[in-house]
């Protein structure tokens, strides 16, 4: 079996005991890192060492480690999910860094995503935005035959592209205003592009936008930072579509 590699790194990691404590950066030297490790495996190595030294390991969120669950969420060297485009933290590999690098790792920062501990934040605001209308109201058992609803492929493809959002929150973390427009618009678009979503179109966009404001997310000023950092490359077109949906819902009364 190939053993560990030979990269040496300096890590500056945000440590915060709980949501009410004050946090601060701590510096760690790590060595024996191989280019084949994922970024989170590098954290595993550091955590194992901290445990052996009797210290508390760094808490961070993760689950699938395949880039699909949306749980991992590190702000790395000033970029949500780090340097690779279209990539979550868990899919980022140490090949992206060089021996001797200093890497700064922080949690997502947004009023609407309070820090729970170290790099772990509370993203339940996203669930509440979905509760406000991110669904189609159909009870189990009421469905018609699936092929009785025809959907033309271009619309189906666009809906699918919007539905690829993994709810990670990188868009909020990347945005100077901590806006949740990309996330919300991805869901509004996904459902608005499908005939099944049509009946609730107006109430949906209204309620979801209202909830977004209630949660304390900021305004969108079209910086495009969200799209640039989104691991699923969700397009800004979705924000434009949501704005149109919103305007037409307001003027339709």
């Amino acid at each position: 079996m190939i053993m560990s590699g030979d990269m040496k790194l300096t890590l500056k990691v945000w440590r915060q005991k709980n949501s009410s404590a004050k946090g601060a950066f701590e510096t760690y030297q790590v060595d024996g890192i191989s280019k084949d490790m994922s970024f989170l495996e590098m954290f595993d190595v550091l955590n194992e060492r901290l445990i052996s030294e009797g210290k508390e390991p760094i808490a961070f969120d993760h689950d699938c480690r395949e880039g699909i669950c949306g749980m991992c969420s590190m702000y790395i060297n000033g970029r949500a999910h780090g340097p690779w485009k279209g990539t979550t933290t868990c899919q980022l590999h140490m090949r992206a860094f060089n021996d001797g690098d200093t890497i700064v790792v922080e949690p997502w920062r947004s009023v609407a995503f309070p820090v729970v501990k170290d790099l772990v934040v509370n993203r339940s605001a996203f669930d509440r935005i979905i509760q406000a209308g991110g669904y189609i109201s159909v009870n189990t058992g009421n469905a018609v035959d699936a092929n009785s609803i025809l959907i033309d492929k271009p619309d189906a493809d666009k809906a699918f592209a919007a539905a690829a959002c993994i709810g990670c929150g990188a868009c909020v973390a990347a945005c100077p205003n901590a806006s949740a427009m990309l996330f919300t618009s991805a869901k509004v678009s996904h459902l608005a592009l499908l005939p099944q979503g049509d009946p609730e179109r107006k109430t949906r966009v209204n309620n979801m936008v209202r909830q977004m404001d209630i949660e304390g997310f900021g305004m969108c000023s079209n910086t495009g930072a969200c799209e640039a950092e989104c691991p699923k490359e969700i397009s800004l077109e979705n924000i434009a579509r949501m704005n149109r949906e919103y305007v037409s819902s307001v003027f339709a009364g």
Binding site: M1, I2, M3, S4, G5, K17, S34, K35, D36, M37, S38, E41, D44, V45, E48, I51, S52, K55, D63, C64, R65, E66, G67, I68, C69, M71, W84, Q91, V116, V120, R123, S124, F126, D127, I130, Q131, A132, Y135, I136, V138, N139, T140, G141, A143, V144, A146, N147, I149, L150, D152, K153, A156, F160, A163, A164, I166, G167, L191, Q196, G197
Partner: protein, 647 residues
């Protein structure tokens, strides 16, 4: 049997709407099985509480499923039917599943697709606007529905949205970042759970007239698997300790196409979709320990061992067969890559073949090789681009230029809590759905059937079967959670946490988990034998003792503590691992994913023994490393057992 489910639905007891509002149901787990169950029961009017350990129900492990979901829609008019799906599933499971359950699964499969499309799940479509299908896992019909490589994600988000709608309506109360630590039983019935709020660290008592465990599979007992890091057996195991039988624990699925282990730092393994076997060719060098890179090994010195051994199915043999064949080659010294524990999955000939077709389509009849390859790469990128990219991110190698290296990895567990036709465990009022139960897949699961089963259980089975139980519970008032049974269960859970925290040993949780994984992989993995299993049992017992005297968990229990969470899970895996070996030792036959070296044909194929082992092994927990075996005989009225032959 064809009528069993229809007749059942026609005669099952019902609960009237006014009474439903008084009945409380706890759903643990919000993957496909749990989210669909919680949403449906909420819609029906039950008072539901749902739990998951992630920060949101949208993140359950189901999200990672790539390939697709089966349904007997026969949209392609290629001869598919409920009967054929039923038959394929029973046969694929090597005749170790219950016929009636499988038939019901095939029957409701079609409604699942209708339901998901109505929810707005963006399944793949053709240009005419109709749904698209693909064939999957070597079946002869195209019955797999998919959403690019993200089928699980889209289906789960559909169920999640239905669930959040019920949360908004007040029918479901959602508890994220909560981990169930025990079931509470009162007078023999399941009446609630003890859960830990992972943020505050506090234990909570929750009452329910019935409890549903939808907590997923236990592949992580092997440490390395394709499962999400948090996937665990704790909920099922705690129920087992309280009296629920565990069915066929040793039935594990090892998936043939995963990215191989690259070093000791490895934390999980990544699946490369089965669909890659449709076009890729699998080979190893004919020479042992061949040091040459793949592209310097000439064609005649390559051993396309699947095509050689199984000419009829070639690279498309079922998962268990493909996995064992890879292991056989690597063990014999023909493996490739730095670790020599890998085989090649080669796209060179597919690229050339597609390139030629594409050149012809464009009227380039004398295209040079370079043009053909470029065109071929384009076609392959369209079909498999995202998988190739993922491979490159992880390995740093470009699979368009060099063959991928793959090796089998633990992927799915067919075993789980034993349930009856109504999905009830041996504890009245305690149900088990999805991968966590043992039901429909026998000794081997077919591709694209787990998503189908999870959603079948949650949307279309439990809404009926739970009524049959709850109809008799309408006079049971909510039991206050200061009832002694709740207090005792909470105290016991607290005592376990205190005990873990107070060991203050010298080794991390992962240290023990890795050691357990190695024992399981070496001795209860792709091939098993009596001697190895006996050794494994002894080693695991030893490891249990070491764990309970030497594990170190930093921090405290009054707040978020991921090491404590892992420790609780590994403690349960250590017991489950032992039971898996006990079960594997008892089953001295080879069937599906379970290969006993003592039971094979002269040319190394698995040999099933219907005379002695046509039963479900349901294990009862007796304490102190003792388990009693109960056998549920399997009889086959329709799908008569035959030999699985893929040669």
């Amino acid at each position: 049997m064809n009528e069993k489910w229809t007749n059942y639905k026609g005669s099952v007891k019902l609960v009237n709407p006014a009474n439903k509002r008084k009945l409380e149901v706890i759903v643990v787990g919000t993957g496909l099985a749990g989210a669909s169950a919680a949403a449906s029961l909420g819609e029906m009017g039950y008072k539901v509480k749902a739990f998951c350990f992630q920060d949101s129900p949208r993140r359950a492990h189901s999200i990672a499923a790539q390939g697709g979901i089966n349904a007997a829609k026969n949209y392609q008019n290629d001869g598919d039917s409920v009967h054929r799906l039923f038959y394929d599933t029973v046969k694929g499971g090597d005749y170790r599943a219950r016929e009636a359950n499988v038939h019901r699964l095939a029957e409701v499969s079609t409604s699942i697709i209708d339901q998901c499309v109505a929810q707005g799940v963006p399944l793949a479509r053709e240009y005419g606007g109709l749904l698209s299908n693909r064939s999957f896992g070597g079946t002869q019909v195209q019955r797999t529905f998919y959403a690019a490589g993200q089928t699980g994600q889209q289906l789960l988000i559909g169920a999640y949205q239905a669930l959040e709608r019920q949360v908004a309506l007040g029918n479901v109360e959602m508890f994220s970042r909560h981990e169930m630590l025990d079931v509470v039983t009162i007078e023999g019935k399941s009446r609630g759970i003890i859960a830990r709020d992972l943020i505050s660290g506090k234990l909570e008592r929750h009452f329910g007239h019935a409890v549903l465990l939808c907590t997923g599979g236990y592949g992580n007992v092997f440490y390395l698997s394709t499962n999400a890091m948090g996937s665990n057996v704790t909920a099922a195991w705690k129920a087992h300790r309280k009296g629920a039988y565990f069915g066929n624990p040793c039935f594990t699925q090892i998936h043939p196409t995963c990215i191989p282990v690259s070093g000791d730092h490895q934390s999980k393994l990544t699946l490369m979709s089965e669909s890659l076997r449709n076009d890729g060719r699998i080979w190893v060098p004919k020479m042992q320990n061949d040091p040459r890179p793949a592209n310097q090994i000439p064609e005649e010195e390559r051993d396309y061992y699947l095509e050689r051994r199984y000419p009829a199915f070639g690279n498309l043999v079922p998962r268990d067969v493909a996995s064992r064949a890879a292991k056989e080659r690597c063990d014999a010294g023909y493996g490739v890559g730095a670790s020599k524990m890998a085989v090649y999955l080669d796209y060179a000939s597919a690229i050339e073949r597609y390139g030629k077709t594409e050149a012809n389509k464009r009227g380039l009849h004398n295209a040079d090789k370079e043009t053909i390859i470029t065109l071929g790469k384009g076609v392959v990128a369209e079909k498999y681009g995202n998988l190739f990219e993922m491979y490159e991110k992880i390995t740093g190698e470009n699979p368009y230029e060099v063959p991928m290296r793959i090796y089998p990895a633990v992927h799915y567990t067919m075993g789980g809590l034993w349930v009856d036709y109504e999905l009830m465990t041996t504890i009245p009022g305690l149900y088990c759905l999805g991968e966590a139960n043992f039901s429909d897949h026998g000794a081997n699961r077919l591709g694209a059937s787990a998503l189908m089963q999870g959603l079948a259980d949650g949307y279309f089975v439990i809404p009926y079967t739970i009524g049959n139980y709850l109809a008799d519970e309408i006079r049971t008032n909510s039991i206050p959670t200061d009832h002694p049974a709740f207090m005792e269960a909470e105290a016991a859970a607290q005592a376990t946490i205190d005990r873990l925290m107070n060991i203050k040993g010298s080794k991390s949780v992962d240290y023990f988990h890795k050691r357990l994984g190695k024992i399981m992989w070496d001795k209860c993995g792709m091939a098993r034998n009596e001697e190895g299993l006996k050794q494994a049992i002894a080693e695991i017992r030893q490891l249990q003792q070491e764990f309970w005297s030497d594990v170190r968990i930093p921090g405290d229990a009054n707040g978020l503590n991921p090491e404590l969470e892992k420790a609780g899970r590994v403690a349960d895996f250590l017991e489950l691992g032992e039971l898996m070996c006990v079960d594997a030792l008892n089953r001295n036959e080879s069937c599906g994913g379970h290969f006993r070296e003592e039971s094979q044909t002269p040319d190394g194929e698995a040999e099933r023994n219907d005379e002695d082992y046509a039963y479900v092994a349901a294990w009862e927990y007796k304490g102190n490393n003792q388990y009693d075996l109960h056998k549920e005989p399997l009889t086959f009225e329709v799908a008569k057992p035959s030999k699985r032959n893929y040669a």
